[in-house]
């Protein structure tokens, strides 16, 4: 099998052919996801002993970025799948049911989606209203008003709920349910400014499964120790991919101008240099996140430390702000050609996709959390990772 990046480039080539249509119609990037399955990219992160390739997070981030350069909706779908898979890898590697599930993801290239939001919780994933109801070794679960990106196209869903009907809102578990076990009732259609292909519809979710399908660790631990960090890093990789693509279009525009008028530096050239500078900062930010995570993941105390949470939150905030600024530069450079939707220099889809970054877990909410943490945590001035 060729390298992960080479296969990601093949998927990107497919995704690029359909990205405008996916955006226009607000439809699932099915061609790109089919290509991911054919290239066996959905199991890349799964350890070799469970049939995957044992890739590290940096390699996954690169795949995410490559696909996102072609189609942000496809790249985000891949990122969200890997975020869910990472919870199973980190917290289900000792549980027989979840080991078997990882083998199935690998052999059948299952696409895994997430149902962590719920109507009435006010955007805080660390609270649930619905609860798991156990009866012997079976359980049932009904969750209302939950947003499930690509829910209709997923093969399995990871869902959060209170651990029992009498448990407090924050005492949550996470369970894996497969397509044959759940019913989705569409309650709201995703028709959004950008990221239109993620099809983040609202559903009423109802399911029954074996108690063994519930991940052994409570969700608070899963969120704190792997999900939030991986989420912020892989999202940043999506946004970096979008920003790279916009700068590349702006650069092509300026080069075409330079060729037409030899001997003169085009007016947009300086802005390309400025955009390249910001793009490098964004790239450094994401790489710093990856290296911070690599250090922390082998040290449980570091992974649960305030300093680590602050760092990961800052990766997300930094990337989500820079991407909009960078694309705006690309728009200033390409002008009317960038503003129009039907030119090789269009950056409208990039801008609309990128604007989702600041509200996917609202930056204001994150700043609020960090502000609270900084009442305790002293920032580390060291340049060492």
């Amino acid at each position: 099998m060729s390298s992960l990046v080479a296969r990601a480039q093949l998927v990107a080539a497919v995704a690029a052919q359909y990205s405008d249509h996916v955006d226009k119609e607000g439809r699932f990037p099915s061609e790109a996801v089919r290509a991911m399955k054919e290239a066996r990219l959905l199991s890349a992160y799964i350890p070799r002993e469970f049939g995957g390739e044992g890739a590290d997070l940096a390699e996954i981030a690169e795949v995410v970025s490559v696909i996102s350069q072609a189609c942000a909706s496809a790249g985000m779908t891949y990122a969200m799948h890997q975020i869910k898979v990472s919870s199973v890898i980190s917290h289900g590697d000792k549980a027989e049911w979840h080991q078997e599930f990882m083998r199935r993801i690998s052999s059948e290239q299952l696409l895994v989606a997430s149902a962590t939001t719920e109507g009435g919780i006010g955007g805080n994933l660390r609270n649930s209203i619905c609860a798991v109801e156990r009866l012997g070794d079976r359980f049932s679960l009904v969750k209302d008003g939950t947003v499930i990106s690509y829910g209709r196209d997923a093969d399995a869903i990871l869902i959060t709920a209170r651990s029992a009907p009498d448990a407090p809102a924050s005492d949550q578990v996470m369970a894996v349910l497969t397509k044959d076990q759940y019913k989705l009732e569409l309650t709201g259609v995703w028709d959004a400014m950008g990221m239109r292909g993620t099809c983040s519809d609202n559903f009423k979710f109802s399911a029954e499964g074996d108690v063994a399908q519930i991940l052994p660790n409570d969700f608070g631990e899963i969120a704190a120790k792997s999900m939030l960090a991986i989420c912020h890093i892989l999202w940043s990789a999506v946004w970096y991919g979008i920003a790279s693509s916009a700068v590349s279009r702006a650069q092509s525009f300026v080069r075409a101008e330079a060729r037409r008028n030899p001997g003169q530096t085009p007016p947009g050239a300086l802005r390309v240099a400025e955009a390249a500078n910001m793009l490098q900062l964004m790239r450094s930010n994401t790489i710093a996140g990856l290296s911070r995570f690599a250090t922390a993941k082998v040290n449980d105390d570091d992974l649960g430390s305030v300093g680590f949470i602050v760092a990961m939150n800052n990766i997300k905030i930094g990337a989500s702000r820079m991407v909009v600024d960078i694309i705006n530069h690309a728009l200033l450079i390409t002008g009317i050609n960038g503003y129009r939707n039907n030119t090789p220099y269009s950056v409208g889809r990039h801008m609309r996709d990128a604007l989702s970054a600041q509200i996917m877990i609202s930056n204001d909410r994150i700043f609020g959390n960090v502000a609270n943490l900084l009442l305790m945590h002293r920032l580390d001035p060291s340049l060492a990772a």
Partner: protein
Amino acid sequence: MLDTLRPLIDKHARLPVKADTLAAGQDLYAAGLTSFAAVQLMLALEEAFDIEFPERMLNRRSFATMESIAACIQELRPQALAS
């Protein structure tokens, strides 16, 4: 020594249950402690015991149970919880 901690937990940890219903080793996060309230509780403990938590104690495990909180305070100021 937990008797000294319980009123502070009731006041600052914003749990849906009273601290005297919790065992010393019971997981406070599972009982409803949020990361926001954990910081508020840390600040209240610093004020009450005239201590300052060093960076190495600012992690999830230090504040996971009343027992682990007491151990941190004990280490920083051995006489604080003597009564």
